[in-house]
C-alpha cells in the first residue's frame, strides 16, 4: 500500500502539485494512524497531509480514484445458456460470414470475457500510450485503443449479425436478447478500457521525471510558449513570487538588528540617568514600495498576460504595490488584483482593455499618472515600467518622464525587446533609457527572475 501511495504522490507532483519529502512522510504516518479501511477517511487523510493549497484540490480529486479506485473490471453478461443447439449453430454460421477481426471481437462480446492485463498492455502500446502523461489525453487515448479493437465497426456488425440471424430464421425475441447482450458487453468493455487508460496515464505520471521541463521553460522566450506552457509558467511565476517574499523577509530581519543608534539611545535613556536600559538600533524600514506601469498594447500582447500575472504576484507579496496598465490611456488595475484569483484578475484586465491598432500612447499615460497619482511616487518608490517603448511616433513626453524619475527612488524598465531593436521604427526606448537606473531585457522567465532579484536586493 505504501508503494501505491508513493506512486500517487509522484503522480501528483507530475500534475504540478509541490509535495515535499516531509509531507509525504506525514501522509504515511497519518495513514498508519487511521488505516485504509474507510475509503473516505483515507482520502481525507491523504488530502490534508499532501495538499496545502485549495487550487491543487481538483488535481487530487481527479487522480485519487485512478490510484485507489475500484479496480475490478466492469461485470459482463454471459450468453443465455438456454440457447438451443439449432440456435447456437445459426449464430456460429452468421458469425462465420463476418471478417476475422470483427468475428473475434463479437465472439469475445458474446462470451462476456473482459480484456486481460496483457491484452490491455499490448493495446496501449499500439495506441502509443507509453508516453502519455497528461490526464487531458485520457479520452483520446481510450478512443484510440477502442479503434484498434475494432469498436468503430461494432455497431454495424451487431446490426448485420441480427439481420443474418433473422434470415437464418431465429426467432425475433432471441435476436433482440442477443443484440442487447452484445451492446451491454460492448459498453462494459469500453468502460474497462477507459478505466485502464486513466490508470495507465496516472502510472506514467508517477514515473515521470519531474523538473526536466521547468529549466527548459525558464529559458524559452515568451513568444514561443504554448497555452499549456503558459499555464505552467503562471505557476512558476507564483512560486517565484513566494521565493521573493522569503528573501524580503530575510532582508528585513537583517536590517532590524542593524547598527547601534547612539543618538536615539541617549535620548531614550535620559530619564534613567543615561543608564542604557533601552538600546536603540537604527532600523531600516525601507520596505519596498512599488509603482508599476504595464504596457498592454498589441506589440506587447504576447507577454502581457505573464507580465500581469507577475504584477499581481508582486502585489500579493509587497503590500505597497500600485499597478497601472495602459494602451492609449492609463488604468489603475490594483483593485482587480486585490483578493482575486490571479488568473481571473488577469483575464478581467485583459478583457477590459482590448488592444487596438496603433493606439499605444505612453506620453498621454504618463501625463495621467502625473496628474492624478503623483502622490504615490516619492523618495521611497521604485517605479517599474514594463513595455517596449514603442509609442507610434507620438510625443514621448520626456519632460514628464524625467519628472517621475527624479521624484522616485529608482526607475526600472523591463523591456522584452533586445537592445539592438531599441530606437528602430517607432521605438523611443533610447530616449527613455538615460532616465532609467536599470533596464532589463526580459524575454524569458529566467531573465525576469534575475531582474526581480536585483530589484529587491537593492530596494
Amino acid at each position: 500500500m505504501d508503494e501505491r501511495i508513493v506512486h500517487f504522490i509522484a503522480a501528483l507532483r507530475a500534475g504540478g502539485v509541490r509535495i515535499s519529502l516531509a509531507e509525504s512522510a506525514d501522509a504515511l504516518r497519518a495513514v498508519d494512524q487511521l488505516g485504509v479501511m474507510n475509503r473516505d477517511v483515507f482520502r481525507y487523510t491523504l488530502r490534508t497531509t499532501l495538499i496545502k493549497d485549495s487550487r491543487d484540490l481538483p488535481i487530487f480529486e481527479e487522480l485519487f480514484p485512478w490510484f485507489f479506485g475500484v479496480q475490478t473490471p466492469p461485470p459482463m453478461q454471459n450468453l443465455p445458456e438456454d440457447l438451443s443447439p439449432a440456435e447456437a449453430q445459426m449464430l456460429a454460421r452468421a458469425l462465420r460470414q463476418l471478417t476475422d477481426r470483427l468475428r473475434s471481437l463479437l465472439e469475445r462480446l458474446l462470451s462476456g470475457q473482459p480484456l486481460s492485463r496483457e491484452e490491455l498492455d499490448q493495446l496501449s502500446q499500439m495506441a502509443g500510450m507509453d508516453r502519455a502523461d497528461d490526464m487531458r489525453h485520457r479520452e483520446w487515448m481510450a478512443q484510440r485503443m477502442q479503434r484498434l479493437l475494432g469498436f468503430k465497426e461494432v455497431r454495424e456488425a451487431i446490426q448485420k449479425l441480427a439481420q443474418m440471424l433473422q434470415q437464418l430464421g431465429m426467432n425475433r425475441q432471441r435476436i433482440e436478447q442477443i443484440r442487447q447482450l452484445l451492446q451491454a458487453n460492448a459498453q462494459a468493455l469500453r468502460d474497462q478500457i477507459d478505466q485502464y487508460a486513466g490508470q495507465r496515464i496516472a502510472e506514467n505520471m508517477s514515473q515521470k521525471d519531474p523538473g526536466d521541463e521547468q529549466d527548459n521553460l525558464m529559458h524559452r522566450p515568451f513568444q514561443a510558449l504554448s497555452d499549456s506552457d503558459i499555464h505552467k509558467l503562471r505557476q512558476e511565476v507564483q512560486r517565484l513570487a513566494t521565493i521573493l517574499r522569503t528573501r524580503i523577509a530575510l532582508r528585513q530581519k537583517r536590517a532590524k538588528s542593524g547598527l547601534l543608534d547612539a543618538k536615539a539611545t541617549i535620548r531614550q535613556n535620559l530619564k534613567h540617568g543615561n543608564v542604557p536600559f533601552q538600546v536603540k538600533h537604527r532600523d531600516h524600514d525601507l520596505k519596498p514600495k512599488l509603482v508599476a506601469v504595464c504596457d498592454l498594447s498589441t506589440s506587447m500582447r504576447y507577454c502581457s498576460e505573464l507580465m500581469l500575472t507577475f504584477l499581481s504576484a508582486l502585489q500579493s507579496q509587497i503590500s505597497k504595490t500600485h499597478a497601472f496598465a495602459f494602451i492609449n490611456h492609463l488604468e489603475y488595475i490594483s483593485p482587480d488584483f486585490a483578493g482575486n484569483d490571479p488568473s481571473k484578475a488577469v483575464e478581467q484586465v485583459l478583457d477590459r482593455m482590448p488592444s487596438g491598432h496603433y493606439n499605444t500612447d505612453l506620453g498621454k499615460s504618463l501625463k495621467q499618472l502625473v496628474d492624478s497619482h503623483l502622490d504615490l511616487i516619492d523618495h521611497r518608490t521604485t517605479l517599474i515600467i514594463v513595455g517596449d517603448g514603442r509609442n507610434n511616433y507620438k510625443d514621448p513626453r520626456l519632460d514628464l518622464f524625467s519628472l517621475l524619475t527624479r521624484r522616485c527612488r529608482r526607475t526600472i524598465w523591463l523591456n522584452p525587446e533586445p537592445p539592438s531593436l531599441w530606437g528602430t521604427g517607432d521605438s523611443d526606448m533610447l530616449q527613455y533609457a538615460p532616465g532609467c537606473d536599470h533596464i532589463f531585457q526580459v524575454s524569458n522567465l529566467a531573465e525576469l527572475n534575475a531582474a526581480i532579484d536585483h530589484l529587491l536586493s537593492q530596494a
Partner: protein, 323 residues
Amino acid sequence: MSETITFASPSELKTALNQQQYIASDEIATIMFLSQQLGKPLLTEGPAGVGKTELAKAIAGATRRELIRLQCYEGLDETKALYEWEYAKQLLYTQLLRDKLQETFAGATSLSEAADRLANEEEVFFSMRFLLQRPLLKAILSKEPTVLLIDEIDRADAEFEAFLLEVLSDFQVSVPELGTLTAVHRPLVILTSNNTRELSEALKRRCLYLFINYPSIEQELAVVRMKAPELSPKLALQAVELVQSLRTMDLRKSPSISETIDWAKALVAINAKNLDQHVLETTLSVLLKHENDLQRARRTLLRPSQGNDFDDLSNFRRIDRQN
C-alpha cells in the same frame, strides 16, 4: 478545571464537537483527529465566516482545554506574540531594592569586585517574574494542555510567519537571558487564514491543511436549527435556501454562515411568519453589508413577487398605450 480529553476515533470527536454546538463534517472530524494524533498544527483556510475560528473554540470546549488566542495583524511582532521584558517593573524593583543592593556592595574593595557581586544577583532581574507572557509563550508554558488559536495568519507579515516556524515545529522558544523554554504539553494549534495572501510553503509544510467551504443546504440548515431553535423549520429552510441562492450571485461579499445565523436570529426577534417583501426589506441588511450588494439582491429577490402581483395590471397599461 477537570481532566482534558483525548479522543480515540474521529467519530467520537465528531459527537463531542456536536455537543459543543458545532456541526462538523466527517472531513473536519477526521482531520482534527489526525492533528491531535500527529501533534501537528492545523491550517484552516476558506472564505470569511464559515466557522474556522468557531472550530477552534469548539475543540477547546470539547477537549476541555483552555483556548489561547493570538489575533494576527500587520505589524505584529515577537514582543506582542511571544514575550517582553517588563522594563518598568524591573526599574521599580531596582529603585526599591536600592538599599539591599548597597548592602551587597558594602565591603567591596574594588570596583570589579562590586561588579562581580552584582553579576551574581543578575538572575533576580531576568527571571520569569519580569517576563510578560504573550499568547505563544503562554501556550508553551501552560501547565494544563491548551488549544492555541492563531487567527488570520495571512494578516501578519511574512517575517512573523517565518518566526512562527520555530515555535510550531518544536514548540520551544529561546529567550537569551533564560535559555530555551520547551513546552510542557504540546498545545493543539489551529491556524486560520482567509487567503488574502499566499502563505509560505515552509509554514504549510508543517501544518495539516483543511479547506472549509460554504456548507451545503443540509449542513447549513442543521447549523441554523441548532443556533436558532426558535425559528420554525419551514422558515429556516426558506431562509437557508435564500442565502444559498445569494451565494451564487456575483456579490462583493457573499453572506457567511455567521451572517445566516444572525439573520435567523433577527427573523426570530421580529417574529416573522414568512419571508415576505416587508420582512426582506427590513432584514436583508443583516446578510449583506455592501450597498451595491443590497440593491442588487433587492432587485433580483423582490422583482418576481412584484411581477406576480402587478403583472396583469402592467400588461393592461401597455395595451392601453399601444391603442
